[in-house]
């Protein structure tokens, strides 16, 4: 058998020395009485609990939906999302704004650059 290392020796000593907690007198009587006073959850209370948990989730979903609806009310925002659709005019306008911004730092629109190269 493999000899015990000092870590094992100390661990066994600690387990042996581990304090045992005794229940105080009448613990069982007290606890049983309390348990019997606490009503067992019925189906109704379980449903109530479930509803209680669902309310914050539903409220968050509703709040996010309203916020998104309001956000899309703004024409610019809606135009931004039209990049994902087929609104070519809005897409071009946004691309123009984008390259105007970078153009102010000296970074040219690659589309224009390729036109210049073609010339």
């Amino acid at each position: 058998m493999k000899p015990k290392g000092k870590g094992d020796e100390l661990l066994s000593c600690l387990i042996r020395a581990a304090r045992r907690v005794e229940a105080p007198p009448f613990f069982a009587v007290r606890v049983a009485a309390r348990a019997f006073q606490t009503p067992r959850p019925s189906v109704l209370t379980l449903l109530e609990g479930l509803a209680h948990r669902l309310v914050p989730v539903l409220a968050t979903v509703a709040a996010v939906s309203v916020a998104l609806a309001l956000w899309f009310e703004e024409p610019d925002h809606a135009a931004g999302f039209s990049l994902l659709t087929e609104d070519a005019a809005a897409e071009q306008r946004i691309a123009q704004d984008y390259w105007d911004f970078w153009g102010s730092f000296g970074i040219p629109d690659p589309a224009e650059r390729s036109l210049e190269n073609a010339d």
Binding site: K6, C13, A18, V31, A32, F36
Partner: protein, 191 residues
């Protein structure tokens, strides 16, 4: 003849408070000691044990009498302890901040080798050292160690309590032992 667990459960469900008292009496030691060793706090062990039994009573109708009641109670206790640990994590970390672990480890090993019983002061140090070492394990490893090594729960019941396989339960206990041994060896080397 002592009533079987199945009888006690059935009678409790029929409203026999005495039967439920008997269940509490049989398992109060188990629950109190799991709570105490897992959380390392005596001051709240009784309150948590009480919650465990109230929860046991409220879920008793879902208990499958072909299974072990001990494992069922162990599971409720483990869940209650983990909830409590989450709630009071910060307080626990500061519990033994002024305790010299290295000095205690050296002293306790010397005493164990001398085969003399521990003095009251040494028993107190052993308790703190054990709690401090257990605090370095993950919650599931700590629970596996407490249930198997300190409360003698066999691997089959440990697996049922922790909702895992017997092999996984064995691995958790073995891993926790290894970690504790390593930690204690480090302390002894530094002492």
């Amino acid at each position: 003849m002592a009533a079987t667990e199945g009888d006690l459960v059935q009678r409790s469900l029929e409203g026999d408070q005495g039967a439920f008292e008997e269940i509490v009496r049989r398992y109060q030691g188990l629950v109190l000691n799991i709570v105490y060793h897992y959380l390392g706090r005596n001051d709240i062990a009784e309150d948590i044990a009480q919650e465990v039994f109230v929860k046991l009573y409220s879920t008793l109708s879902r208990f499958d009498p072909t299974r072990s009641l001990k494992a069922w109670i162990g599971k409720i206790t483990a869940n209650q302890c983990i909830d409590e640990l989450r709630r009071t994590k910060r307080q626990r970390l500061q519990l033994f901040s002024d305790f010299d672990e290295r000095q205690a480890a050296g002293e306790l090993l010397a005493q164990a080798r001398s085969e003399q019983p521990l003095t009251e002061d040494q028993a107190e140090k052993a308790q703190k050292l054990l709690q401090s070492a257990l605090g370095r394990l993950s919650p599931s490893e700590r629970m596996a160690f407490v249930l198997h090594e300190m409360e003698d729960l066999p691997y089959s019941e440990l697996a049922a309590t922790m909702g895992t396989t017997e092999l996984a339960a064995r691995i958790r206990v073995s891993r926790s032992r290894k970690k504790l041994r390593k930690k204690l060896e480090e302390l002894l080397d530094e002492a």
